[in-house]
């Protein structure tokens, strides 16, 4: 623009205007949007605007046989699909009173923890990108891909494994495969220091993330915050320990916590959980190598003639995002009467996100959302 054509803009009295942050904003996580009212760079108010990924899973599940839903549930949360399968399977098993073989439970933990590592790597990458550090994103995605390779070899699918079914799992995992996973864990453990150097110890990140989006323990509890976000406020609650499912009660692990409650603390909790998950997977591999059983599934009825006894059940697991629950109601039929998914992200991406960004700066919106690790497909379902 030529200087002579330049005319200074006369601002109205109020500098506030509404900005659509997403769904096509590069900083937003997935197909999600926030309507933010900004005054300069300062956010005056925010309104979560979801629904772009609504696929109606809960309703779809009512129209499918109990077994068919195993293909549907992992799609609820794309980056961390295993807990979805797990939670659904636990619910159906509870209603059917299935006795799941021990080996299947350990195989499930293997899947769950690998999925957690993959999901956390994904989240770091995303968060780093929001503060302008793209290398970390490339690394995170590339390392996650190595875990997806393992999933492919164990389950036949990279992203949607559809591996856990009510009654057990669909395939056994051999010793060779366990060795491969073990090697991968060695590699990932070495990589942790690279991540620390690049990201967690990075001054830019620390300065951006510290004191950003602070969540107090009281707020966390009243807003339904769970998972790493809750633990970052100093509250050590983890479904794996406090309402142990599968064989978590036989596994040694720490609950990672931080106290600051800000975006940095939330990332550090995930960083600690990476190490914990690697430690858990090592224990699982040890168990599976020693275990000589080949029994990976209890006897389930013919999938085409399978009625689940009438009743209702509420099951929960600890996903990488927080506490994931399924409320399943059966009226004794061949299909679920009602399935409700209580995903952790619906709290984190709506009420928590709205409140945390308000009063903050526009450039922090994306990083706060990533620090909460909200998963839009799970919000919308």
């Amino acid at each position: 623009m030529r200087a002579e054509n330049y005319q200074a803009v006369t601002h109205p009295e109020s500098h506030e205007f509404e900005l659509n942050f997403g769904p096509n904003h590069p900083g937003i996580e997935g197909n999600y949007a926030l309507k933010v009212r900004v005054n300069g760079d300062k956010i005056v108010a925010a309104k979560a605007d979801g629904g772009y990924l609504h696929r109606g899973f809960e309703k779809l599940m009512e129209g499918r046989l109990w077994i068919q839903n195993i293909a549907l549930v992992p799609r609820i949360c794309v980056p961390d699909p295993v807990p979805m399968e797990m939670c659904y399977a636990l619910g159906v098993e509870d209603l059917c009173q299935f006795e799941v073989p021990e080996r299947a439970n350990w195989l499930r933990v293997l899947q769950l923890e690998l999925s957690r590592i993959a999901a956390h790597l994904f989240t770091f990458g995303g968060h780093a990108a929001t503060v302008g550090m793209y290398s970390n994103m490339f690394w995170g995605i590339a390392d996650r891909d190595l875990i997806l390779d393992m999933f492919e070899q164990m389950t036949g699918g990279r992203v949607y494994h559809m591996y856990t079914i009510p009654g057990g799992v669909r395939r056994d995992v051999g010793v060779e495969q366990l060795d491969k996973i073990s090697d991968l864990l060695d590699y990932l453990e070495k990589r942790l220091s690279d991540y620390d150097n690049l990201f967690f110890n990075n001054k830019i990140f620390i300065q951006r993330a510290r004191d950003t989006g602070i969540l107090t323990p009281k707020q966390a509890l009243s807003w339904g915050v769970t998972g790493p976000n809750l633990r970052a406020c100093g509250l050590a609650f983890d479904v794996r320990r406090d309402d142990a499912y599968l064989c978590y009660d036989q596994i040694d692990f720490d609950i990672a916590t931080e106290t600051a409650g800000d975006a940095l603390a939330r990332n550090l909790v995930r960083r600690k959980e990476l190490a914990q998950s690697i430690y858990i997977v090592r224990q699982v591999i040890d168990y599976l190598k020693k275990d000589k059983s080949t029994h990976i599934r209890c006897q389930i009825p013919n999938p085409l003639a399978w009625k689940v006894p009438a009743g209702e059940t509420y099951t929960r697991v600890e996903s990488s995002k927080g506490e994931l629950s399924f409320y399943i109601v059966s009226n004794g039929g061949e299909k679920p009467y009602r399935v409700h998914v209580r995903g952790p992200s619906s709290m984190h991406a709506v009420q928590v996100l709205e409140k945390l960004v308000t009063g903050g700066r526009l450039e922090d919106v994306a990083q706060i959302m990533f620090s909460l690790d909200a998963c839009p497909p799970e919000v919308d379902r």
Partner: protein, 620 residues
């Protein structure tokens, strides 16, 4: 508690060090590392990868179970005209086609496939221009989507199989117990066993197609699984008025076609039918059947049926429901034909048969017993009195081998002797009996005589001689096995030569020679004997169980002349219509087989008679 070193991470939290000037040079360490990005080339998929489908067309039977389980409705069954179709063997010319616009590669189709023909391959790349958008809809074969040599990925194994391949065990009396009397051997399913057995069904409908009467087996199996026994009985009665009989003695073509028997055991469809009918009280069955069909008003046309066997009674059952008056003439003292006098009590208790017949008569069928046409009532009277006549007399006369001595009084035909036993008539129970024949009738008479021997002499001495080898014998495997368990001796590949009679007219035994072959090159019955290999089985009774003939003398000369004949049988068209427009013939006398075929033909002939009677009504 933690055994993990969290040193690095602790440092991050404190963030005390500001780092050195040389720190950026750490990045040089990455120069020697392999890049994390990879060149764009196809990666070899994992061993159990879920890629595009493969389908072994030789193994696939077209049962469409993959189509049923597919949660995305991605699988359609496509008719392939060139493929062989064999409904009796459970093979249909349909193959699954996959719409990759819908498929989610969950692999449930593979895990449920009853034959194991479906698998997923390691192939996963397909792209096309808009012009070839149909290329996402493919018909998988063993060669794969692009005819590239990709291996199988996700395959079915016993560990991943979602189907239940093992049949529920049926409670049966053990040999030592059942040989003591004529109690029914098969005890019937328990509630739990029936439910479990019914739950194995995949509802492919092959049983329906293989059944001569096209029974609605998938529907009644489903109803049993749903504990809706009245619904099951209603479904059974749609096509079969003899559920008690067929639930016990049916030759169950359905089970040979069952898709489950490819890799496991067929669903016990026959026993499930029996379970359903046993489960509903007789009075309730009667009420259900009377509701099930809406009869047309009585049109004053009448049908005479000669012979109250399965074919005649089925036709009668259908015709009364179509509003016609039906009268059945039966020569014996009770209705049922071969079901009553040919099948031993231990396989089909008479009271169960009575139940089925009671339902038929409750619908308005009139059965007059002890009435021999040609003697008690003349054929001419029937012809004048009724608008249509159906011959369903069956095969009442045992065929004779006509070997020397076969006219001795202690040489019986099996069919005659079975009726005697069933009627509890007196005859001298043999100490040693030899049966000629290797079919189910031979087994029936051998096993019946064995029970009588056990009761009277506490010793079984029965020899069954057959022309065929043990494997080629016509009797069912279960009959052979159970006969052997009961102490009956099988002598295979023996041809009867003479019933040896002593000077004092007592029967001494049966002289046999080795039978080399039964059929000639053209497949005609023409046994070849080795006369040097001679064995005599001593016996005080010889029973011939080598087939039966029909007796049609009652028809009279005029009708006999008017009819067309073919190989000693009345010639009929596909619907059982003879050359005379008011006369039909059905059942064993047309083509002998079994109860369910007789029922199927009974339905067919009833339809033909109904059409004829409707026309009479219109033109009068």
């Amino acid at each position: 508690m933690s055994k993990i070193k969290l040193k690095v991470q602790q440092e991050a939290i404190s963030h005390a060090s500001k780092g050195s000037m040389l720190r950026p040079f750490k990045a040089l360490a990455f120069l020697g590392r392999k890049p994390v990005t990879e060149a764009l080339q196809a990666r070899i998929a994992a061993d159990i990868y879920r890629g595009f489908h493969l389908n072994d067309w030789d193994k696939c039977i077209g049962c469409s179970t993959c189509h049923t389980i597919c949660d995305n409705a991605a699988i359609q069954m496509v008719y392939i005209p060139d493929l062989p179709s064999d409904l009796l063997a459970g093979k249909k010319p349909f193959r699954p086609a996959i719409d990759y616009g819908r498929c989610c590669w969950c692999g449930l189709c593979v895990d449920i496939c009853p034959t194991g023909s479906l698998a997923l391959s390691k192939e996963y790349i397909h792209t096309c221009t808009e012009d070839h958008i149909d290329s996402y809809f493919i018909l998988p074969d063993p060669k794969g989507m692009h005819k590239q040599p990709f291996e199988k990925g996700w395959e079915k194994s016993d560990q991943t199989d979602l189907l239940l391949h093992h049949r529920q065990t049926m409670q049966q009396l053990p040999a030592l117990e059942r040989i003591q009397n004529f109690d029914e051997i098969v005890q019937g399913f328990t509630d739990q066993a029936a439910f479990e057995e019914a739950s194995r069904c995949i509802q492919c409908g092959f049983c329906h197609d293989a059944c001569p009467a096209q029974m609605h087996a998938p529907e009644y199996i489903r109803a049993i699984w749903e504990h809706n026994f009245e619904q099951a009985v209603t479904q059974i009665y749609r096509t079969n008025p003899f559920p008690n009989v067929c639930g016990r003695v049916c030759t169950h073509r359905c089970e040979s076609a069952c898709a489950m028997q490819v890799r496991g055991e067929a669903i016990a469809i026959r026993w499930l039918k029996r379970y359903a009918i046993d489960k509903v009280p007789h009075a309730r069955v009667k009420a259900l059947v009377s509701q099930s069909e809406i009869s047309k008003p009585d049109n004053n046309l009448s049908v005479a049926i000669i012979g109250a066997g399965p074919a005649g009674l089925t036709a009668a059952f259908d015709l009364v429901q179509q509003g016609h008056k039906v009268k059945v003439f039966e020569a014996a003292d009770k209705a049922g034909g071969m079901m009553r006098y040919g099948i031993p009590e231990y396989r089909l208790p008479a009271d169960k048969l009575d139940e089925d017949i009671a339902i038929i008569t409750s619908m308005g069928v009139e059965i007059v017993c002890n009435t021999i046409v040609g003697k008690d009532v003349s054929m001419e009277d029937i012809v004048t009195e009724y608008d249509a006549v159906l011959l369903a007399t069956g095969l009442q006369q045992g065929r004779s081998s006509r070997i020397p001595g076969s006219n001795h009084k202690n040489v019986y035909s099996a069919i005659e002797l079975l009726a005697k036993i069933k009627r509890q008539e007196d005859f001298i129970i043999p100490h040693k009996a030899v049966i000629i024949g290797g079919g189910n009738v031979a087994m029936d008479i051998a096993r019946s005589l064995a029970r009588l021997q056990q009761q009277y002499y506490a010793n079984i001495n029965i020899i069954v001689t057959t022309l065929e080898t043990k494997d080629a014998m016509l009797a069912d495997d279960s009959e052979k096995r159970e006969a052997l368990e009961e102490g009956i001796v099988l002598e295979n590949s023996r041809g009867p030569l003479e019933c040896m009679v002593c000077d004092d007219e007592t029967l001494e035994g049966l002289k046999t020679v080795a039978c080399l072959t039964v059929f000639d090159k053209e497949g005609r019955f023409h046994p070849q004997y080795d006369y040097t290999d001679e064995v005599i089985y001593s016996a005080d009774m010889v029973v011939e169980a080598i087939g039966q003939n029909t007796v049609l003398a009652f028809l009279g000369d005029t009708i006999t002349e008017q009819l067309e004949w073919q190989q000693g049988k009345i010639k009929v068209d596909n619907e059982g219509h003879t050359a005379l427009e008011w006369l039909w013939s059905v059942g064993d006398m047309v083509k002998g087989s079994d109860v369910i075929h007789a029922i199927a033909k009974g339905h067919q002939v009833a339809k033909s008679i109904d059409t004829y009677l409707q026309n009479i009504k219109v033109f009068s």
